[in-house]
């Protein structure tokens, strides 16, 4: 069953720049899709279209209401004057949930990302990785059927990123939500997603299925992961320099 879809959608900004051209793609309910491509290829624009933050210039978006979408930005995007707990609770408060419901969801989200002990801390007291966890918890607290993530771990060091990738997969499996994850990292896409869409110059160039059926703890060394990385690299146009 389809959770989100773009139907022959295009997006042209006010300055005339065509960010997306003729995109038709479906995202099945409960799926994990990675959008991969170089900077400026339209990944973030596609995500903003799905979130309803931009309207398509042509074509249409079939999707959910904005209240059913959790969005994680590239930056943690936290309100510096509010504590971790208050940052997570704010969207719920705005949506008008009862206080008891807000507290329950907030505490659950804090537990999911392992930040219960930092509920009263301010963003400036946290590391980069912890801030991203708060941002993720804020999106998860809405219990959204769809989670859209725009290069959320791009600014983090490799080890923190690996840990957050694992956390995200565990959350996805537990919550059974639909995730669309933008990244420019081939290995991150191959590690996280069941399907990767390779984008170039505002178009989806290819679609690569990633075999996650027999996923062991050391997936980063497993043949399906290596194969997916190779396929993604090739789709992105990377060729080894020919030996003379």
């Amino acid at each position: 069953m389809t959770a989100l879809a773009l139907n022959e959608a295009g997006l042209v900004y006010d300055n005339g720049f065509a960010a997306l051209r003729d995109i038709s793609v479906q995202f099945a309910r409960g799926s994990f899709t990675a959008l991969v491509g170089p900077s400026g290829c339209g990944k973030s624009s596609l995500l903003r279209l799905l979130a309803g933050l931009e309207q398509p210039s042509i074509g249409s978006v079939t999707g959910l209401a904005q209240s059913d979408i959790g969005f994680v930005f590239q930056e943690p995007t936290l309100l510096a004057w509010r504590s971790v707990a208050d940052n997570i609770a704010l969207p719920l408060k705005i949506e008008g949930h009862a206080q008891s419901e807000i507290e329950a969801r907030r505490d659950e989200a804090l537990q999911l990302v392992g930040l219960t002990d930092f509920a009263n801390a301010l963003p400036r007291q946290l590391s980069g990785g912890m801030k991203m966890r708060v941002s993720l918890a804020r999106a998860l607290a809405k219990r959204p059927p769809v989670l859209l993530m725009d290069e959320p771990f791009a600014a983090l060091d490799e080890l923190t990123r690996f840990r957050l990738d694992d956390d995200l997969r565990a959350i996805w499996q537990r919550q059974n939500c639909t995730i669309v994850f933008v990244t420019h990292s081939v290995t991150e896409a191959a590690y996280l997603a069941e399907r990767a869409l390779v984008m170039q110059a505002g178009e989806i160039k290819s679609e690569i299925a990633i075999d996650q059926s027999d996923r062991a703890d050391d997936f980063r060394g497993a043949p399906p992961f290596i194969a997916a990385c190779a396929a993604l690299s090739q789709a992105l146009g990377h060729k080894r320099a020919a030996a003379k």
Binding site: A51, G52, L53, Q66, S67, I69, F71, F73, E75, T77, L79, A80, W81, L90, P91, I94, E95, L122, P123, R124
Partner: protein, 256 residues
């Protein structure tokens, strides 16, 4: 400790040099009174100077209050409706660049000498209003666009956006504007009292004119010292408010 002690020591040293110099050079009291004479004038005229100080405090506080309310209100309208900003901004600038001394007599005539305190507040308000407005507009406009997206995705209405995001995010700029406007409100109050003159106002500025006319130069200096003290208290009061509201979360209070 030295942070507080150093300026006090410098002040005391300057007063001592002043005292000795006036005495040694035998400077007449109607040219430059010694600090001790100024202190004496302050004690002798304490009741009347405090009454005058209170008048100036009331005008300054009222002007600052209305400047803050009107500037923040107008800044919110400007950031919400570009057309209103485009229509009104030239007139706001005109109000700012026209020398207040030139329009103060008109305001006094229009408002009337029966309501001189209202006229004083209005004149001081004109001086204090602009920095508060420009700082607030800049603060409201500088909110991270991604935070606006976050509010949109949460379905926030304009009031929620204002209360939860824009005003707190603009608070550092608003408070910077407030510190500038606080000092300007006092300057505006003094200018207004000078223009009103002739006993229509009974604030510190009027006491300076009156003492000058009577060649009571020590009383003049005592009034001036009180005005400076009022300005300093106002600045530190607003700085304290800034610290109170920002020190927990804002980068400007992060120690290196």
């Amino acid at each position: 400790m030295m942070r507080y002690l150093a300026p006090v020591l410098v002040g005391l040293a300057l007063l001592a040099i002043w005292e000795v110099w006036v005495s040694l050079a035998d400077i007449p009291v109607f040219i430059l009174p010694a600090p001790s004479a100024i202190g004496l004038a302050l004690v002798e005229n304490f009741a009347s100077l405090m009454a005058a100080l209170w008048v100036t405090v009331k005008v300054t506080a009222a002007a600052f209050f209305w400047a803050a309310i009107s500037a923040i209100g107008l800044a919110i309208i400007f950031t919400r409706a570009r057309l209103i900003e485009m229509a009104l901004y030239p007139y706001v600038v005109t109000l700012q660049v026209t020398p207040v001394v030139a329009i103060a007599p008109l305001i006094l005539i229009w408002v009337g000498f029966d309501n001189v305190s209202h006229a004083l507040v209005m004149i001081a308000w004109i001086v204090a209003f602009f920095p508060m407005l420009t700082n607030t507009v800049q603060g409201l406009r500088s909110v991270d666009p991604q935070l606006h997206d976050l509010m949109r995705l949460s379905g926030a209405n304009w009031w929620q956006r204002l209360c939860y995001l824009e005003l707190p995010a603009a608070l550092p700029s608003i408070l910077t504007g407030a510190k500038i406007s606080g000092g300007l409100a006092l300057i505006g109050a003094v200018v207004a009292e000078f223009v009103a003159g002739s006993g229509a106002s009974t604030g510190l500025a009027w006491r300076i004119i009156e003492a000058g006319n009577r060649l009571e130069i020590a009383t003049m200096f005592a009034s001036l010292a009180l005005l400076s003290a009022l300005g300093i208290v106002l600045f530190y009061l607003l700085s304290f408010c800034e610290w109170l509201l920002l020190h927990r979360w804002h980068e400007s209070f992060r120690r290196g």
